[in-house]
Symmetry: C2
Subunit: 313 residues, 2 copies
């Protein structure tokens, strides 16, 4: 297996698509092989820029990502997309649609797109998702775009791993912005008002601008004041501006040390998520066979924990 | 503390609303006290009927639940509602609206409504949610309605604990039904076509009827063939029929032993979810301070896992 994995990594480093795909499949399927792969690949220099893109459903996030891919590709960069796919059957349909929209890049050798289910840890951020970001980084992808649907804790978690966080909104989604405020509206480095060709765009822009000014959304992070950009992904407008601000933010985080810190956070997440995964899988197996008395739930839970631990001795 | 808890349970058993509320708050806040409460209260006979209600957003689930509450109340029964509230900021708004709609029962001494966030285990089913079902049961509530929004694994999990599962749909939600098929459309004991006063109702009824006949939705469970009922909660139509079929199902599961089996499953879930909660909280604290090398992620994860579990020795 060892030689096998090393050959695969060698081929993947040479840009062989099939090998990259197989590496990622190993990452998803076996924690042991994933660990093996990571231990080898982590010796590569890396240096990619992880861009998290989240936003309100209906904001045209996928079309925007597609435009970013085209732009980076045309600048001679290699782009990977990790799309975090919620297990919810409701949203799966929508995401599949998005996937298809991004397929125009699917056969391009400079672009690699992969969906990762969140099912990993009970609907939370999965070990595979984080490990894939690491792998793309070490394989020399310049821009690693992490897409998530903008709902719930998973999004906040995955966005924590991104160097630069884009929050995409659109005109006429005022209520949704209100609803989301508690979540993703707080975490953006760059807020993108997409679909800005729409008639209501100016009003929404003014609202977002005001909300940013007053600190109602987007908390200032160590001297980076969150920015607001107008785009129309469908019309191809504003993409250059957006790319410029993304680069500005990259320069900022490299100078301020945030870039390196995020890489440390990523590694910590990987280990923690893998520990969770191993634990929950073992616990699930064990707990199917227990018959608690209910006389002391706490004691019985601790007992179950100890039993789980003994599986790893 | 012990006497305190015992007094509280005594008062709650006498139907004192404030005491019931405080018991539930303890359940949410402290696993140790929750365990104490459960160990005492589990000696009560119980015997409640847990009815899970899930369904497509927009199907009028909350109005239907409100009708069921009225019906049971008027029959002299005590009704508890455990509403599983996803942490997603997006859906929170909608659920708060639902809560308000159910408030008409809020001051009735025979009715107790409580929301439980899913945040417990990373967006999954929470320990408190299951423990509350147990507490309501032992406090002598006759019908314990568990409401969930019908999206994702949490719903499937919580529904596993219900004696009787209602899946609510509505006319004109065909696409949504398709999208949900992989999830909740498989788990119903009773399918409710609500809003059946709408013009498209007959077509949707025919579709659901056919899907049930052909086994496309609703898998047959040990001799219970899933049923289909038309209601219009707003007009108050079909509620009697629905209640009759719910009773028919209750008789069936009591005879077949499923009723008792579900109580065992509930207890097993409680212990397992508490174990998960204790583990994940401890892991989170520990993993914030680790600095993995990445040389062997698997080994490092197992190390972290052992360290976490050793906190319980």
């Amino acid at each position: 297996m060892k030689n096998n994995v090393e050959t695969l990594i060698g081929n993947a480093l040479n840009g062989d698509r099939a090998s990259i795909g197989r590496l990622l499949t190993y990452i998803e399927r076996s924690p042991e092989i994933a660990s093996k792969i990571l231990s080898i690949i982590i010796q590569e220099k890396g240096g990619g820029h992880v861009i998290g893109v989240t936003g309100i459903p209906g904001s045209g996030k996928s079309t925007l990502i597609s435009r970013l891919i085209s732009h980076y590709k045309n600048s001679g960069l290699r782009v990977a997309v990790v799309a975090i796919d919620p297990t919810s059957p409701l949203s799966r349909g929508a995401l599949l649609g998005d996937r298809i929209r991004m397929q125009e890049h699917a056969t391009d050798p400079r672009v690699f797109i992969r969906s990762v289910p969140t099912r990993g840890v009970k609907g939370g951020l999965s070990f595979s998702g984080v490990a894939m970001i690491e792998v793309f980084d070490r394989l020399g992808f310049d821009k690693i775009i992490v897409e998530s649907i903008g709902v719930g804790q998973t999004d906040i978690d995955i966005m924590n791993l991104a160097h630069t966080i884009l929050v995409v909104t659109a005109p006429g989604l005022g209520d949704e912005i209100q609803a989301l405020k508690a979540g993703i509206m707080e975490i953006g480095d760059i807020y993108v008002l997409n679909k800005s060709d729409k008639p209501e765009a100016n009003r929404t822009y003014a609202y977002l601008d005001f909300a940013l000014e007053t600190g109602e959304i987007g908390s200032e992070k160590i001297k980076w004041k969150p920015r607001l950009v107008k785009t129309s992904a469908v019309m191809g407008q504003g993409i250059e501006d957006l790319v410029d601000i993304i680069e500005e933010h990259l320069q900022f985080i490299k100078k301020s040390g945030i870039y390196q810190e995020k890489i440390r956070v990523r590694r910590r997440y990987m280990v923690r998520l893998l520990a969770e995964k191993l634990f929950l899988e073992t616990l699930e197996n064990l707990s199917d066979s227990i018959e608690p008395t209910g006389k002391n739930i706490y004691e019985e839970a601790v007992q179950l924990l100890k039993e789980t631990l003994s599986q790893f001795d």
